[in-house]
Amino acid sequence: MTASQILPAQAAKQALEIKAATFSLPLIRLLDNALDQLALQVEEKIAQAPDLFLHTPVVIDLSGLPEDQEIGSFPELVGVLRAVGMMPIGLRGGNALQQQAAKAMELAILSETRPRAKPEQRHEEQEPPAAAIEAAAAMPSIEVGSKVIAHPVRSGQKVYTAGGDLTVIGPVNSGAELMADGNIHVYGPLRGRVFAGIKGNEQARIFCQHLHAELIAIAGQYRVSENIPSELKGARVQIFLDQETLKIERF
């Protein structure tokens, strides 16, 4: 018996659809070709937040390296990242040889956001790392992974927005949890627990109209209700990180 005989009604059913989707992935941008140094520094970063990159797809970016500079061995680089639990899925930049190696390992070759051939662009590539980090931090603001919830979030409910902002229009009740890789906005009383920048984005902020939260956290820095000054209870505030300290400010 063939499958179509077993399931005649389902034979005509659509089995798939192809859609466009945009994902925001961490970029591992190499600034130097010394693999042993890289391994050490990656491990240091992971030690600060062990679960943050566990099973997280990442893209390797070699566009920060001078074109003539060769990394020891591309498979070795992938091995270093896999060893700490990351899942490299693609390569951005790199020379023909490196791209070939990536293809051999079934990594995708992702297009660069800007051509690197022009000399003035090249100059920009070598800007100090701090500026590059700032530029990267500005990027999530044009996220497409954002989510808007237009109903109450009730006790026991969890909402997570991967790679973007989470906006709730309505109350977030005691015992509810909001999590987002980006910012969290609540237009309604906020009585639950909120975690912004849950993957370590220290630029993430929480905005709310009436602060009664049980717990607020940005990039792992948290405060429970007991430690929120009583004069800020019920106030319209924004919450952000300043020198790794949570700041609650009226606005």
């Binding site: 109450p152 009730r154 006790s155 026991g156 409910q157 309505g170 109350p171 009740n173 005691s174 015992g175």
Partner: protein
């Protein structure tokens, strides 16, 4: 089309069974064919509140397991011939409520009744999930105190995500909030949440406010649904609640503190 209405709360002791009995009787008195189903397997109480505990032969579980026909298990109310009760089993456990079995029994009840009232057990375990799974409407019962309100909030979240309507992505369950054991005097003293507080936290329309009343306890003890006690505030508040459920617009009664003798004379606020 018959409607399945679940009376639920999360927390225990807030007045679910009292409400199921009162709303069931109220709908039947207005001429609607109504059946009240007790889902509290192992801790059945509805039969006591309805005063039919001595007439239970077969129960809900017997019907699900095919040991009895539905008609053998249904008990007709002696005061109102439009009202039936399907009692829970006292000797089984809640796992005997299978999703398919409950669905089949409710489908059959819908063929012969206009309203199927499901009296949910407390908690959010299997029995409570089965009681709400097939619901079209939900009356969430809460008392004016924080733990009860939080549990109601939790239950509302479950209604909007775990019911058949949520799973099949059709129009969601219509949710109503019923505030019971409300004491205006204690609200004024700051010992209880006010109607506005509860409504603000749960952001749902209030279908009724039932005042704290000795009549409820007396009615339970006597096995007479409190809605039949026309003299009591609680009985009349339940009548209003039933009217509102059927689409009537009535102002809330019994929500202001009673004035004392001097207050009535001087008309002060």
């Amino acid at each position: 089309m018959a409607r399945i209405v679940v009376i639920t709360s999360g927390k225990g002791g807030v007045g679910k069974t009292t409400t199921a009995a009162a709303v069931g009787m109220g709908l039947a008195l207005l001429g609607h064919r109504t059946v009240v189903v007790d889902f509290d397997v192992g801790l059945r109480n509805l039969d006591l509140i309805m005063g039919c505990e001595r007439r239970v032969v077969y129960d809900f579980i017997n019907v699900i397991q095919g040991d009895a026909k539905l008609n053998q298990a249904l008990i007709r109310d002696k005061r109102c011939d439009k009202l039936y009760i399907l009692p829970a089993s006292q000797t089984r456990d809640k796992d005997a409520l299978t999703k398919d079995g409950v669905g089949q029994v409710l489908d059959e009840l819908k063929r012969h009744h206009d309203y199927v009232i499901c009296d949910s057990p407390a908690g959010i375990e299997h029995g409570a999930m089965m009681a709400m799974y097939y619901a079209d409407d939900a009356i969430v019962v809460t008392n004016p105190e924080v733990s009860s309100v939080r549990d109601a909030d939790r239950m509302l979240g479950i209604l909007s995500s775990k019911s058949r309507r949520a799973e099949t992505d059709v129009e969601p369950i219509t949710e109503y909030l019923l505030l019971t054991r409300y004491s205006p005097e204690r609200v004024n003293r700051g010992e209880m949440l006010s109607i506005a507080d509860v409504q603000e936290i749960l952001s749902l329309p209030m279908i009724g406010v039932i005042p704290e009343s000795q009549a409820v306890l007396n009615a339970s003890n006597a096995g007479i649904p409190v809605i039949l006690d026309q003299q009591s505030d609680a009985g009349r508040a339940y009548q209003d609640t039933v009217s509102r459920y059927l689409g009537g617009e009535l102002p809330m009664r019994f929500i202001d503190a009673k004035k004392g003798f001097l207050g009535r004379i001087f008309g002060g606020a």
